[in-house]
Symmetry: C2
Subunit: 891 residues, 2 copies
């Protein structure tokens, strides 16, 4: 019997783990092992695996039997490499204890630093550092952090004690306190812990270590982590690893420093070394944004107009060493790296490397340039860019010609333009957005607790912190525009205002952020369309070469159709004809039609609608010249077109020549208990064939017209909605064919067209074999198919959908990502049965899932010919389709 | 190459067809052939097959090439047998041309009699009959019938001409007209046909024959026939055959007669020869109910208190011959026969025999007695009774002790008690029923045009016609109570009243019919429960021995549960717990629960509901001792429990201690766009676990209580509704299990229970394999499964469902009979997948389809363990399940 290995050691140019063991060691642990393996200087340590986390939660929060022994051995190995002893009063080993999940979850879980300090070992630290003030400061920091994270004694207890001491001493800044002051603080902190917990602060380093390990595992289930996982679709069962690593100190004097750097610019993707550092500081100081950091390179200093000295100036040798490590790591990992380092007494230690988060623009540029540099292949470049991230690049940016009232300027922390109403707390942001407002969250600095509010905000503005502050990192990850460290702004949270250069901005006032320049502007500034050339064009070209599915757009207005064409759509997959009836001039005719007593009355009203509808199709066919256009005949229940207000009812009654009571009666008669399952779709066509006949006539007359004008006749694909039997389709197809023959006879022209159906009801999917006898194409209407298959009305799901996600019933919102097990089985089955009847049956999807990358991957697997999505998602779908084809090995 | 045989001859003790060729020859044609084969005296003739009808409609209303020659040959054979010539002026052959479909469609299609008459052949008829008046009367009848049926010249033209002649002659009755008068009429009729059609009336018998054949085929598509087929689920594609048969005359003098008889009493099923006849009359006179007919037997004369002589008295030899034919035919067909005969010049001819329609009581008695007589097997007896017809026997009959204000008495034409408001036309009946009224249709006599109104009426009352009149035959077929020939009643249709013995009854007044006694009563008379012993008990015993599926009931009230148990249910398949909350004392607590701000408030209100719910379950478990009870936890959306009227809202606000605005706000917030797909079913249990916990507690406390009291602990089957993922079921099952453990601990008792789920969403059916890991049973909720699979809200379907049936999209209402292709596939698939996971998974159905015979046959095929239906349908389901088992060969 082999023992399970729960602990993996690293350090001194060796390691038991590797970079590809992320699932077991977490990202941090795997990369520490890898760096050690390739000879980069990392403080020795060990990683407790994610399997221990799983075991912990599966076994009533207890550890595997073997763990204690394996930790002990690993700790001994660290002591040997670092030449010091855990708990030794002369030469103590101090460690950090950090979480590290498979996917990076920045700031979400707890960390303990300086662990191993007690009244004895602090003496050893004084001896080693020669700095009693540093040692006692570290000690009190440890007590504070450990008490908060492990013992549940919150920060404010210690802050309060510190305030009292400073008042007693007549001091303001922490830096003014002496070694003795900190020593007093240590005593008072420990006394407070005893008071609060009834137990003395643990002096035994081993007890400290196990306390911290347990706290990290427990933090996997804290509310922040749960929210983050939900937002980022990270499964709970992954668990976290725990990395225990020898401490090195960037705050032991002026030959010490700590920093964060990126192998390329994470904001633009430019191939320049980019980073920030602080002399005589701990790593948390850089990330937390408490001190304004300095640039590592001279180029960066110039670019950021920084007045502080760059590391390249201050520590040129160490800088060169860092540059060399950057080159090594990027070449090794073949991707842009986000690294943390600490310099202690002139020696450079790497504490972390990971694939760096980046803006969409940066992702695009890095992928394209790395492929051009030969570092990766074009296939890899296509797979490197998250399709969802393109969203940031497709939306309008601020109009350069528009007038801007610039209030101030901060750091361009996450690009994009955002306008919205000012709010000062994450919870206000969530409330206001719930009520339909767009907001910009303004904070001194953000913390992990703000994650929910940040997610719903259009943009984020902070007054402190740098490009690697919490706000900046999280905003870039979310694709949300962010201006960080706008130091001129003074936030008065209690009064719900901020002031800047004499201007007062209140909660609810509109402001605009430009995340690409760092500008903060008053009011909502107009925007312009994005450029779709350059790196974007290159990558999309590679994607288009690789994908096998076509990408169409759901569009009916000329504006939408033009946008879609600009974004590279290959046709219209869903033109919703009813959208054409809501124009004020048309709705009246539509209502007359609905109120008509008989078919004659309906036909008269429909005759008035015909010219409008024909004009719509002429526009659409013209914009889409050379591309297919799928037109869905009238779908929604008629009551959706009836008026609600008294004025409107009176107007309709007058125009239709009936009294107000008649209009009300008709509206009441048409009202439905469950309109989603009511008299709609082809049920309208079956009961009132004249409606579909008018629409078919408009389509054919428009197609003949455009064919004559352009010499390039469109091929309309006429789509019958909500079919659940072959016979419905047969009846509607016969009506369409009759109109086609009539129009061809009247105009002396013929043209090609096809008739097909939406598959949006479970019965249609099951009966696909029979329906395909009459249908030339299927378009999966997965919005409605999801509603019927799951029995969930999208309009009413809000009341329970969140609970359903929280309780793990739905891993993803089934209206955003196709439910592969339920709805997906029906799609696969319909595709198989339909193709068995008609091998050349054209298959597409036109639900909103058509623009969702995971759903697109599903469609690839189901053998669909195309996906159709909203115009702004066309490029996302093109890239996602390419990735799906590459992953399926069909590209 | 073999020619298709389109025409089948019969007569003179031989025939080309047989009784088992109904599909090809229609019922009438097949039985005429069979009678001829077994030596019964039938007028010679031939039958044109249903394939000609199919060919006719498939080929633009044209005949197969070979048909003309085959008809000519067959006609020659008839001439040879009957020793007369078609079109011969001396000794003419006259024929009848009648439709005959596979299933009997009485009076629905057109018939032409006396065909072959013209100015020459009428002379031959005079010669043969020696009766010029009879001959010219026959001739004018022929012109009238032929013109109406074939030429489209309606009856009233001829009626009008006849009125003028009678006025001219100063006469009132047709019988007063002379031979010359009828001769004049013939000329005037022909002149009117020329006026109306622009073409002379056809003199050529062959032209007449082909005209009539075409008219019969065309009548397959007339509106009456279409409606009848829809009501009786007869497919259009069956088509009709045409039988051409030599005419024999029952109206050629007093040695002539015509009659209709049944081999057993079609009303009671008693094994007595039963029939009516008229001397010197044509067959249509008996069926149309124009003259009050005479009894054939002396026993019948006594029983019906008839004052007219019986055939047994008047024509004893012919009566004995008829009795012998009755014995032959019943023994030959092994079922009760409905026969038509004509006596011409003292010779008995049989014109038709078919399996007779009968009341449910008669069907039961005949089946049981024939099995006891050894004529058929018990299996056949079980298969002989239409389960749907039992409906008539299961409903209450008039309380014999109740006071009755008897207005008059008619013939007991179709048994059962019916109360309703008087209406005088079929269309009024349909309108009123549409508006929720129950009606009794009162007519002088009914005609095939009334079929729609007859179908919706509670009962039918006519003032003319006998037991075999149109009203009587159709009412028995429909299982609708009917009193026929209530001659004291005078209907004043124009004034919308009827008068009887000085009482005036207006349209809208309530009357009651007793179809078993013929009594017509004023007002609504109270009813009593039916007897379930005797023949009913015998047949149900045979059925129970043969079926393999159990039959349970859907019931929650003690009344329903007791009814179900009396009707032989084997448990409760669906107890809808929400029905228990609508009692006034409970609804207030329910509303307080809904209005509560938080879980604590909800739990307080639920605690008040607990004792009520526990009491309900104690009652139910007690009534169902020894039988399983499946309890569905709360299913409907909460807003269904909220008040609507201002008074109720105020009351709720007061009791809940909130203001009216709060109640309104909460109601508005809970309102849903599509409640069918909303926050209901287990979604309530997931979001408010305390509701299901209370219900589970009530169930377990009740079960423990009843177990202690009775010593026979119930086995509750707890059913979670609207599940679409395994995880929902897991969460709810865990909650139920926790409550069970708590109650067992509190009471120191344990008992067996199971937790299962409804399968009522397509996703649940697809995921059945996974869900069955946690479910001990599935109950198919086919009401909701039909709504979601077809995407049709039952509440809203009325707007198009009728059109859908009329246009052949749905052959049956999918909410009445399970859609085997769509919903059925999901049921089969769920059954297979569920059983693959858990071989002993218990499978049942609790939608309304559980009481529908065709759906029950489907369930047998799908391998279900039980069906569950409303209490009154339990016996129907028991019989249908037995038939399904017999037909599947599993009994």
């Amino acid at each position: 019997m082999t023992m399970t290995k729960w602990v993996y050691s690293f350090g001194n140019g060796r390691a038991e783990g590797r970079a590809d063991m992320k699932n077991l060691l977490g990202g941090k642990g795997a990369n520490l092992a890898e760096m050690s393996n390739i000879g980069i200087n990392v403080p020795a340590g060990f990683t407790i695996t994610t399997e221990v986390c799983t075991h912990y939660y599966a076994n009533d929060r207890s550890y595997p039997d073997e763990l204690a022994r394996q930790v002990k051995e690993a700790l001994a190995s660290v002591e040997a490499i670092m030449r010091c002893q855990f708990g030794d009063a002369e030469n103590p080993l101090l460690v950090s204890v950090r979480s590290g999940a498979r996917a990076s979850m920045p700031g979400m879980m707890d960390t303990v630093l300086n662990l191993g300090l007690n009244d004895q070992t602090v003496q050893g630290l004084i001896k080693r550092s020669g700095d009693a003030r540093f040692a006692y400061d570290s000690y009190r920091r440890f007590i504070q952090m450990y008490s908060d994270v492990v013992l549940g004694v919150e920060h404010y207890h210690f802050d309060h004690l510190l305030e009292i001491l400073k008042e007693d001493r007549g001091l303001t800044l922490d830096t003014e306190l002496s070694a003795d002051d900190w020593k007093v603080m240590v005593e008072r902190f420990k006394a407070r812990v005893l008071e609060e917990t009834g137990t003395p602060f643990p002096e035994d380093p081993e007890e400290q270590l196990w306390g911290a390990i347990g706290a990290v595992f427990r933090s996997w289930m804290n509310q922040r982590a749960i929210t983050y996982r939900k937002l980022h679709h990270i499964p709970e069962e992954w668990g976290t690893a725990v990395s225990v690593q020898a401490m090195v100190f960037g705050n032991m004097g002026d030959d010490c420093a700590t920093g964060v750097c990126f192998s390329r610019d994470p904001s633009t993707g430019e191939n320049v070394f980019y980073g920030e550092y602080l002399v005589n500081a701990q790593g948390e100081d850089v990330v937390a944004g408490i001190r304004t950091p300095q640039q590592i390179s001279l180029a960066g200093k110039t670019k950021n107009k920084s007045t502080l000295p760059a590391m390249e100036e201050v520590m040129p040798d160490l800088y060169r060493e860092l540059v060399s490590i950057r080159d090594t790591l990027e070449a090794h990992y073949r991707d842009m790296q986000d690294m943390e380092f600490t310099i202690q007494g002139g020696r450079l230690w790497m504490l972390q490397t990971r694939v760096g988060k980046r803006t969409a623009a940066a992702a695009l540029r890095i992928a394209v340039e790395m492929a051009q540099e030969g570092v990766i292949t074009a296939n890899e470049a296509v797979l490197r860019v998250d399709p969802e991230a393109l969203n940031q690049l497709l939306h309008p940016t601020l109009d350069p010609k528009a007038e801007r009232i610039v209030l101030t300027r901060g750091l361009p922390a996450s690009p994009g333009a955002a306008s919205g109403r000012v709010v000062f707390s994450a919870s206000t942001a969530e409330d206001w957005v719930q009520n339909g407002e767009k907001v910009v969250l303004v904070r001194t600095e953000t913390s992990p607790e703000d994650i929910g509010g940040m997610h719903v905000s259009q943009g984020i503005l902070t007054t402190r912190g740098g490009m690697t502050s919490h706000a900046a990192v999280v905003a870039r990850g979310m694709g949300t525009p962010c201006v960080a460290g706008a130091g001129e702004i003074r936030v008065h949270e209690a009064d719900r205002v901020f002031t800047v250069r004499g201007t007062t901005v209140r909660e609810g006032d509109l402001i605009t952020l430009d995340g690409a320049t760092g500008e903060v502007m008053l009011g909502a500034v107009p925007t312009v369309q994005p450029e779709l050339t350059g790196d974007f064009g290159t990558l999309m070209g590679w994607a288009d070469d690789r994908r096998t599915m076509k990408v169409r757009a759901n569009a009916e207005t000329p504006e939408d159709a033009e946008t879609a064409r600009r974004f590279g759509c290959e046709g219209i997959g869903l033109c919703r004809t009813e959208h054409m009836f809501f124009d004020p001039r048309r709705i009246i005719a539509m209502r007359r039609m609905i109120l008509a007593e008989d078919e004659t009355g309906r036909r008269a009203a429909l005759a008035d609608l015909l010219p409008y509808q024909r004009k719509d199709f002429i526009d659409l066919f013209t914009i889409m010249t050379g591309l297919p256009v799928t037109i869905r005949l009238l779908d929604p229940p008629l009551h959706e077109f009836l008026p609600h207000t008294d004025n409107e009812i009176a107007e309709v009654a007058q125009v239709a020549g009936v009294d107000v009571g008649t209009v009300r009666d008709r509206a009441a008669k048409l009202a439905e208990n469950n309109p989603m399952l009511g008299h709609r779709g082809c049920r309208l066509g079956v009961t009132y064939p004249e409606i579909y006949e008018m629409q078919a006539r408009a389509i054919f007359e428009a197609a003949v017209h455009v064919g004559r004008e352009s010499g390039n006749a469109p091929v309309p694909e006429i789509m019958i909605p909500l079919v659940c039997t072959k016979r419905e389709l047969d009846l509607m197809k016969a009506a369409v064919d009759n109109v086609a023959q009539a129009v061809f006879a009247e105009t002396g022209t013929t043209l090609d067209y096809t008739v097909g159906t939406m598959i949006e009801l479970p019965r249609a999917a099951l009966q696909a074999g029979s329906i395909a006898e009459s249908a030339r194409f299927f378009s999966f209407g997965t919005n409605d198919l999801t509603q019927t298959t799951l029995g969930i009305s999208r309009d009413d799901a809000a009341a329970f959908l969140e609970t359903y996600q929280a309780k793990g019933i739905f891993k993803r919102d089934p209206f955003a990502t196709l439910d592969a097990d339920g709805v997906g089985e029906l799609v696969r089955l319909a595709a198989e049965r339909g193709r068995a009847t008609r091998p050349d049956l054209k298959l597409g999807i036109c639900g909103e899932h058509g623009g969702d990358p995971d759903s697109i991957a599903f469609c690839q697997g189901a053998g669909l010919d195309y996906v159709s999505c909203s115009p702004y998602r066309v490029p996302i779908a093109r890239l996602a389709a390419a990735q799906a084809a590459l992953r399926a090995g069909t590209a």
